[in-house]
Symmetry: C2
Subunit: 338 residues, 2 copies
DNA sequence: AATATATTCTAAAACGTTTTAGATGTCAAA
DNA sequence: TTTGACATCTAAAACGTTTTAGAATATATT
């Protein structure tokens, strides 16, 4: 079927190793033989068998990405799509495979171990980090290369790329307080995730910084879906003393919140201000345009991949821990309180 | 480093093949030996070497997905994310690797051939089909397993999962004409893509069916981005005789069009009607809610993957060519013309 | 002319698995 | 007590590659 070194060897009347070394351009093969072998190989359409080569080299030339939550795996999040594009761009360009699979919570760690032991990947990319992340602890213990997108709450001596969510949300609070708001609400994703935890921390820090008091009822913790954003916002808006500004901790939640405001007959940006996080493509298109924190999703993907590839190849890494500050983009969903 | 059959063989005092066959549960190994071997293997944490096994079996147990357009690979399209989720769900559950990479136009076909010859995948998933698709022709010629998401314009004797875009857009036209619209505009993606071509065909068919005439200026062909949707819509709205309804051929374009309408001071759903295609999560959240055609993106991904997996395993396939009709979801972006 | 030195090649082993063909021993039947 | 059948195992080969160690030949040096 496929052309092998043996086929070429037979054709050129040399041994298999000679052919192998000729193709690899070793010095101990005469130029004449080398050129001949290469010509014949090309003519026969030779491509090395992937697995034979990998068995021999003991390198997988592959990066693993195991998505958490196999049971209901549905990423419609444009942010993740862009992150993934960045990762694929880099791994592809480096001739590395990106092997994507999914695992559910129960056997997640087993899946990681199997990947390691069967030597099918040289490293992992971790996404959606938890404040205390078992995957990270496992890989670190096994000294297996990985880069995570996101940190843990503490004990972060490993390679990662992350946003500065804390700082970012503080900017948002500054912006809102600057406009004159003093009653702020917040809609958060589950606090189990570091990302959410830090963003909430930023919210708290921001309040404190401006001498504002925090009431429990002003923080609604829910999940990722925009539907939840709507519900959470309704809850905030229906409070005795509703906040005049709602800090949603991602854009989908924010868009849900905008919808809720509309349902209550409020004009967003005037009667109530709403902010998001991520600046997904639709933040700009929302009505009104969403004030949010922009993140270079694609770029972040490339950084994660580059970092991991260097780690695998034992190349020096200029920055093994990267924290990117998001940039505030002010649109029409925020304004002075009435 | 990793535990091998040899390690186990040494430990139990049997030969390597015996261990191999014991673990695989062959009949010619005594129950006693079998159990012992299995116990030892488990205790030692044995996991078969992926590449050795694949070299021997001559199967890759992997599915390839080569994304077109490596040069500017940025998928923020939630639809694609969901499709991918469906694919990953099925391949993962079947213990198959999903190997994702990217290739640019020039060497796309070479990348496919290399994947085939190096035997790194057992089959391909093709996305974003062209009316005349070189990838499909290549794979078909080489009798290599694949399933495409989308058809070609003709000559479709291969396995695919596709939408009925033609039929879908006809429903949209029916809906608009039913509301009283007679001047319809259309914003399309490049016609090179089968998807776009069929959707436009549906638009034309719809007009003809209702005895409406088509003017060239009412069709704007642009690209995928929502920004383009805005620009295209501005062009339509600024015509001498602007259409009262704009059929955008995907949701992102539609949302761009809504923005354009707002810019021109028009109330969408009253002054101008706008429709989309796909029903991405934000269609519902848009303001006003977008009338569009719903597609089960995740489900489609699972169908594509299931079909390919069966093909690879030579299992019977109940339906090797699937065309799903989208369902019209009427929201507030469409209404009677003024 | 003998020795050292390059140059160019190959045999053998290795990576870790599975398959094929056959060896060895046991037991029952003739 | 031989034969055949069965149960249990192993040696050898295979998958296709690369590496290691060394062979063979030609060339240069003394």
């Amino acid at each position: 079927m496929a052309v092998t070194l043996k086929n070429i060897a037979d054709k050129v009347g040399k041994s298999v190793p000679t052919v192998s070394r000729a193709l690899a351009g070793f010095e101990d093969i005469s130029p004449k033989t080398r050129d001949y072998v290469q010509a014949v190989a090309k003519e026969m359409g030779y491509v090395p068998n992937n697995f034979a080569r990998k068995l021999q080299s003991q390198k997988a030339d592959a990066v693993g990405l195991i998505l958490p939550g196999a049971e209901n795996l549905r990423f419609s999040d444009p942010f993740f799509g862009l992150l993934l594009s960045g990762i694929i761009e880099k791994t592809s360009a480096a001739g590395m495979d990106l092997s994507i699979s999914a695992a559910n919570e129960e056997d997640e760690l087993d899946v990681y171990m199997e990947h390691i032991k069967s030597q099918r990947v040289d490293g992992f990319i971790i996404v959606r980090t938890h404040r205390k992340d078992k995957r990270i602890e496992l890989l670190r213990k096994n000294k297996f290369p990985f880069v995570s997108f996101g940190r843990m709450e503490e004990d972060n001596n490993f390679n990662f790329v992350d946003e500065d969510g804390n700082w970012g949300i503080e900017q948002v609070v500054d912006h809102l307080v600057g406009l004159g708001h003093t009653k702020l609400g917040c809609i958060a994703e589950p606090l189990l995730f570091t990302k959410s935890f830090f963003r909430v921390q930023g919210f708290m820090n921001g309040l404190k910084k401006h001498g504002l008091k925090f009431a429990d009822e002003n923080l609604v913790v829910t999940n990722f879906r925009q539907r939840s954003g709507r519900e959470a916002a309704l809850r905030l808006l229906d409070l005795q003393e509703p906040p005049t500004a709602i800090v949603a901790l991602n854009d989908l939640l924010a868009i849900g919140a905008i919808q809720a405001a509309h349902e209550r007959g409020l004009t967003v940006g005037r009667d109530v201000s709403i902010t998001g996080f991520d600046d997904i493509v639709l933040a700009e298109m929302a009505n009104p345009g969403l004030t949010t924190l922009h993140q270079p999703a694609h770029k972040m993907g490339t950084l994660v991949a580059e970092n991991l590839l260097k780690q695998i190849k034992n190349e020096p890494i200029d920055q093994s821990q990267i924290v990117l500050k998001p940039t505030l983009v002010v649109r029409d969903s925020t304004g002075k309180p009435v």
